[in-house]
Amino acid sequence: MRELGYSALTPDSGLLSVARTPPPSKGFPMARPTTEPPEPGQVGRRRFLTYLVAAPTLTVATKLTADGLAPARADAVVPTLPQPAEILDLGDVLTLSCAPTAGMLVLELTADGRARLQLPRAEVGQGITTATAMLVAEELDLPLDRVDVVLSDARTELLFNQLTGGSNTMRSLYDPVRATAATARARMVAAAGAQWGTDASRLSTRDGAVWAPDGRSASYGVLAGPASRTDLTTGSVAPKAESAHTLVGTPTSRKDARAMVTGTQVYTLDLDVPGANPVMVRRPPTINGTVRKVNNEAAVRAMPGIIDIAVVPTGVAVMAETFGQALDGKNALDVTWGPGTVDGEDNETIKKKLRAAALPFVVPPLLTQYVDGEFDFAFASHAPMESNSAVADVREDSATIWAGLKSPIVAKQTIAQELGLPENKVTVHVQQGGGSFGRRLFFDAALEAAHISKAMKKPVRLMWSRIDDMRHGRARAASYHRIRATFALGQVLTFEHRVASVETDWSHGLGEILTAYAAKLPVGGNLGFAQTVFLLTVKSPYNFGVTTQLLNEVPLKFHTSAWRSVYSANTRGAEEIMVDEIAKKLGKDPVQFRREFVKSDRQRAVLDKVAELGEWGKKMPAGFAQGVAVHGEYKSYTACLVELDARDPKHPRVTKATIAVDVGKPVNPRGVQAQMLGGLTDAISTTLTAGLHIDRGLPLEGSYSQFHYARQKNSPMDVQVHVMPATGDDIGGAGELGLPAPVGAIANAYARATGTRPRSFPITFPVDFDPFPR
């Protein structure tokens, strides 16, 4: 048995040339192959090498070998040339980027008979801890309530494999988690076989134990020690056949639900870190404004409960005994501010810049019939319920950070750099987050907390006020869309879509991933990150002849971040409105037209399902209408049919929604339904009421009373989400899939109910409030 260092765990493939060779990892100094040579497991096209980590009880780590990396190719011959996202989408790229380090997946079996998976992802409500626990429970034949999934600390050796985004968790981890758990099961069986002198092939597993034909059994808890012995060998290991799954694929409730309903779920600011006191920050009156001078520091220091004050790059931090007192202190500060980066901008100047930036159409509207449409979408705050927050304890020679982080490695590297500490002196704990929707790809609060802790020389609990979160936090960039379709003889000949968007910030690590894998991307030329992401995510589901979708960005320095479904909500939403308008011009029913022109049978099947379940075409009372739309992304397909009450056109309400979704393989159908419900509510909000007004370099909106995200009274009384059975296709993404189709369906229903053509979103968007002081 040879002791293997980290380098032996990296795959012997060309991919390594684009990944940095990581330093030897502290976490895996004793990794050994389980046998000589390491036995391969086979899952579909993918092969795995699994390693035994020296530990008192069974601990296995698995890596994905290079021959599993070929992305699925689109092989259908279609009249419209395949678009980049059909060949290799953003999720494929993320999966590819995870592959060299998937070996870092670690599963422990403990003496109390429990399994513990270290998940290198962030749980922010999407249910991945439950779904991955289901995979482990399935492979091990262990009850789900005996599987624990914990979020890994930032581990730089994981390179790109710790970014939670792109609807990618189940796509990238489905195979490696199963392979890891299958190895653990095989070792349990082998350990029992060795004890009983029975051939492993005659043993079975159920209910967390190994069973012999004569009825003897040994629990995993008892076997966890013996199964960790390095002289124990197993035969070839393969995960269960999917046809034998009894848990995976069945609707399963969240493992963390009980903690949530009893108030014991721990979020960042529920942690008790000794000595860490509440801190809030006074922020500038415009985005990215700077502190020139604090005029009344002594007076604020004298206020009750105030402990400390410090100027940091983002504002003036106030520490107090309670958050209430920190807030009073921050509000009492008199600060002279320097200008920010977008002080002269407001909604109108931005719209003008976006219009000017939209790239020209190629096809002139000559000789054929055509429809043109222009659309714009306002900025939208991510507005997770848990505002930006972090706990930090920065010492002379080390730092420890706790925060909800979807890109913790980049957070760790940046914090180390800014604090002037070596990376290995910075520990970043990933906390379960109170929502994200793309927001926690960035680590603003973690970095700010580190700066404050360093300046104050004390541990800190930093919380952003809701007003600051909405005004100085991040948002989906405003966008402008110009679409032209030409048609003749009942056929759509060309479909052109030009998107102009305020620049979206990609500096949370995805940019590095795309750079590293640039040679493998199906998009040519010298495209920037944004255009690359756009082309890897946005695709038209229709055979509309020559189709081009292009993005141009306006470099305005707002605080932005990808918002659930990134460019697709606006881009595909606007297209679905145009699809209804093209159908109308051609005298066709919106469902029939879509049926005829969608490229994929799976796309057509979900459309047929909602048309059937939602009773498409039924008679609606005056002021009510149905609307329909489809969307395909990340190898998944969905359709949505809504009923809208627009009797009061200023206050329309979606009263019913029928959604069908095909994710290829639903690991947890109940979780998929939850994601689609979330996407629907996001669509209701951003289509009808929720947006930010920029005024002199700052959003006016500062709370949920002003940024009108939907409430119960705006939510449908009837929602049906139909999850299509597994198709045998690859697993597709679910987290972001649910937004674009309802955007189109709601807008289309609104158009039919009111006889208007909605062009500007949200549809009802007055400044119906007195803005908070700056």
């Binding site: 929502g435 919380m463 809701r466």
Partner: protein, 152 residues
């Protein structure tokens, strides 16, 4: 600083706090009762919804002095030991929570509603203003209806 004595989840406690300190911070920062969440601080998102003498209230805008001598119930005090309140059970059955951050407030609002209205209509449920940014509203609606049926 003045002292205020009140009951939190059945336990008598005393806090040393300025009279105008919002109860949310007396609970979270002084008493380490962390079930009620901050979401806005101005009684708009309702994530902190708890009960004061059995009625829904929002500790983010209620001064600690107003709670003196009264009985506060937070989400932590809703269950009877390991036995969950029927509304909590309904939340589990409907698998309502996604990120879970607003759910303590949603549940406390639902319990308060069901106390007053045994068989709430859709309009009664619509009147609950608690924000759920994950958009779980339909499951909340179903859970309230199911809890109402069980409690009837």
């Amino acid at each position: 600083m003045p002292n205020y004595t009140f009951v939190v989840n059945g336990k008598t406690v005393t806090v040393d706090a300025p009279a105008d300190l919002p109860m949310l911070w007396a609970l979270r920062d002084k008493l380490k009762v962390r079930g009620p969440k901050y979401g806005c601080g101005i009684n708009v998102c309702k994530a902190c919804t708890s009960h004061l003498d059995g009625e829904a209230f929002n500790p983010c805008v209620t001064p600690v002095s107003e709670c003196a001598g009264r009985e506060v119930t937070t989400i932590e005090g809703l269950a009877d030991g390991d036995e969950l309140h029927p509304v909590q059970e309904a939340w589990l059955e409907q698998d309502v929570a996604q990120c879970g951050y607003c759910q303590p407030g949603q549940i406390m609002a639902a319990v308060a509603l069901l106390k007053k209205t045994k068989n709430p209509t859709d309009a009664d449920i619509d009147a609950i203003e608690n924000v759920c940014r994950c958009g779980t509203y339909f499951r909340i609606r179903e859970a309230i209806k199911s809890a109402a049926a069980k409690m009837a």
